[in-house]
Amino acid sequence: MTDESTPNPSVRAALEAVLLVVDEPVAEVVLAQVVERPTEEVAGLLRELAAEYDAGGRGFELRCVAGGWRLYTRADCAAYVERFVRDGQQARLTQAALETLAVVAYRQPVSRSRIAAIRGVNVDAVMRTLVGRGMVTEVGTEPATGAILYGTTSVFLERLGLSALEELPPLRDYLPDHFALDDDDVVAAG
């Protein structure tokens, strides 16, 4: 597929791939930068894709809202999505969400970048989920950087069956003896 005369398929695929992972609408100009193509070309491809999904009767659609493009579930599939969501399948937090929540619980108030450093992965989407589920909330900003700081909520305590944060079992009981875990260590290592 190195035929330079027909690069469109691969630009199209690149756009699809990026659209799959973005969690908020992305402007055409940003997408154009990412795939290194003129904005007009990208805009045309996005419209083509959207039309293709519509014509193909796909369960998802590509829409331009608030100046950006994002994948959405198709409206006439809503009943299924709702059932899936209500079914309790989503009531459990994913492993990634649980681990991130655990870091927030023990390190609060803490910024996203610090959590990301500790976990070694980007946590933006997971944090949005946790905030959305009412388990985590913004509790202030870091004076030096202005970064938003997060902490756990009373809903979190309630769900875990605790009356106060102090009731969380001490972390050191769960670390191997030789991990003298202090904050700086953790952050530095992350």
């Binding site: 969690d23 999505v81 681990e99 023990y106 959305g132 769900r159 972390l171």
Partner: protein
Amino acid sequence: MAGPLGYRRRVPPVEPAAPAAAGGDASADFTTDPSTETGGFHVHLDVFEGPFDLLLGLIAKKQLDVTLVALAQVTDEFIAHIRSHGDDWNLDQASSFLVIAATLLDLKVARLLPSAEVEDDEDLALLEARDLLFARLLQYRAYKQLAALFDRRLGEEAGRHPRVVPMEPAFAELLPDVLFTVTPEQFAALAARAMMPRPRPTVALDHLHAPKVSVREQAVLLAERLRSAGAATFRGLCADADATIVVVARFLALLDLYREGAVSFDQVTPLGELHVRWVAPDDFDLTDAVIDLTDPTEEGSPDD
């Protein structure tokens, strides 16, 4: 003795361009070391992870198939490798290499003496040891090849990103309450795991199946005895030691006490009875001294 040794692999999680690991390619490990800081033969060998790794490397280097014959042929080089390390071994590593070296020597001897017949149980045991070594090597090679497969797959998969996107607002409202299926204790364990720093080089002692003995505690014990008795023989001091490790710990404790100027030694003949005398000043504060005592069974390496 120099600190923890070279052999105990540089532990950083990121391996510089992990060499292709399939058995046949193991020579890559041997001939090219990516980070030759000090240069020389010695450093090259440090990339080997254990005796099996080395054996496979030697066999591959000679372009031999893995057979009993090949094993016999690389015996000399294997032993040369052990020699080349000189004192730079830790006990754990050295013992595993030596066991295999001994078996290899048997194997080589058996080949040099083709007429050798199996005569007694000892010979049979040798044969068994030899076959076992061969089997274990083949087994190790299988896992090494699978490790290469894992590496390839992990690399391929790293390019695929799963969709992780928060729910569209219309659906998010429908989400049932989060259901915690973990207890606070499990939650804490999860936090500990999530926050665990990258492992640092440590000398693990879990493989020592002997109970842990604290040199510190033994020092306190010996000091009490010597303070009241004035002098004693090492044999006498160890009369109640129920395990070799306790004897070793007491010996180390005595060395520490000697360093602190609390005891003196007297040995009339080499390997003869060791007499220990309490020479500490009256105001000698054991607790001060003891705090500084090295305690290899808890923190240091066993061969320090």
